[in-house]
Amino acid sequence: MNRALMHVIQLMVLCGALLVSGCDLRQRMYDQPKYEAHEATTFFDNGLTSRGPIEGTIARGQLRLDAHLFTGKVNGELATVLPPSIPFGKDLLERGHERFDIYCSPCHGRTGEGNGMIVQRGLKQPPSFHEARLREAAIGHYFEVMTNGFGAMYSYASRVPVEDRWAIAAYVRALQFSQRADFDKLPAQDQGQLP
């Protein structure tokens, strides 16, 4: 009788221990020692798990030799055409349209007049893309502004990849053209749609 009781008690203690360690194991499986994106750490001084490249090193494929593509300049002058590696076409303009609406329209407005939603809330008004100076500016100027920022406007280089920056620049050109298009050159069905 006593031995049976002892067995029962031993079994119960074992089960309890398993249950408790099970909870602990489960917790450790939920939050493993590996780091998720942007998780904080005490290992590095600045508390970040995301590490930048070591100074003076260049990752494979990141040697930015093509000055035209990466700086918007040819021989130190702002480029007036798209880089050869960015093929012009409907796809490029559609991509540019989408990216412009996401990243630029909040301030510059969907048509580029400089009256976006944030400007209506009190942000400094940027110049209209349709004024003569900006119409005549080289396409490289737009790439350069997005890459390095301009005056009060921050750089978009960390948010918009190089190819998309060219697509946006091409789309800005299309926007400028659209405001000054020759009515007679429009197809008949589009002519009918204008007031």
């Binding site: 499986m29 939050d31 508390g47 609406d101 996401i102 990243y103 909040p106 400094k124």
Partner: protein, 218 residues
Amino acid sequence: MAQVFHRSINWVAKFSIIAILGLVGGLFSVLLNINRLDYVSGVGVARDQPVPFSHKHHVTGMGLDCRYCHTSVETSAFAGIPPVETCMTCHSLIWTEAPLLEPVRAAFRDDVPLQWTRVHDLPDFVYFKHNIHVSKGIGCTTCHGAVDQMPLMKKAETLNMEWCLSCHRNPAQFIRPRDRVFDVNWTPPADQELRGQQLVKDYNVRVSQLTDCSVCHL
């Protein structure tokens, strides 16, 4: 030895057997369902954040696209949380004195990151990727709810396995055209089931494999 218990007490013994069985069963079902309680899964609970960032103001009020801040959501597993630099593109020029925004300005000045508290956090043994869902026509609001109406970020779904599977078994009920993925105002049309099936075909969604354990647990 005289009988301790009278015969008429037998029902107590019988009853207690049933009661114990019931209790064990009840406990079991509580344990099974405890993860489904909003209190445990954290649905609808706002976390303490360094800055009370409002999606309602920034998305509905100003019409910002999710990708303006969550830049990597189309291209990687991680949607991306904006660095303070993104906030400062506007807040260096607007609301520059607001005390609410002091932590943002301080972080920018000192070049340290702002520490947001995660609202959605799957266990580390589950592998989730944003890019595949976004490119196959699953919209943000399907999983995150009406983000555009949230003054503070809250979880809209439990994110438990049952929930993932409810879609992986039949994505046609939720899938939408790709160009509406970021549209916070999209609602399923009356003939969603029909259109969904067409989209599932058009986008080559591999429905038959989506419930394999290895899809999410590798």
